[in-house]
Symmetry: C2
């Protein structure tokens, strides 16, 4: 069973209120030295079988049409997942 990982981030010129909230909270909790935070989304798509070039191409189009808003977000990465583990693994689902 293959898995495709897609990363979507707010465009640099777009205000990111969630990231702003995090960067304000970090020093209050004792975490210093972080000058900026951006919060985006990470998707894990499972496929039966291998992650072929065709699957990646479909995932890329899905990322650009369904998983991101191209006005305010960039799809920064669409790739086959290395290794197992993380939330998309079926074992405990």
């Amino acid at each position: 069973m293959g898995r495709v990982v897609i990363d979507v981030m707010p465009k640099p010129e777009i205000l990111d209120p969630q990231g702003k909230a995090v960067v304000g909270a970090l020093p209050r909790l004792g975490f210093t030295g972080f000058t900026g935070v951006r919060q985006g989304k990470r998707f894990e798509l499972e496929v039966d079988g291998e992650v072929t070039d065709e699957v990646l191409e479909q995932a890329r189009r899905a990322a650009e049409t369904l998983l991101s808003n191209p006005v305010i977000e960039d799809v920064v990465s669409v790739r086959a997942a290395e290794g197992a583990a993380t939330g998309a693994v079926g074992a405990g689902a």
Copy 2:
């Protein structure tokens, strides 16, 4: 200027309504072959200077206390970002 990337995903045993919505919408938009989707979060933390082991350790603790809810989410990755680009880069901000 260094950057730390943190990935947070819902635990496998936790229902993920956003992922469920996506997996239901994909075939309606013509994207077939995806059997499951999980949606998580991706953070980019900027630091002045290098991403040292100490910075990564701080980021790891921040990920576990502020950026994720350990009851329902797993921190799946805390790493120094390779290369430039993506939403956290200051150029366009």
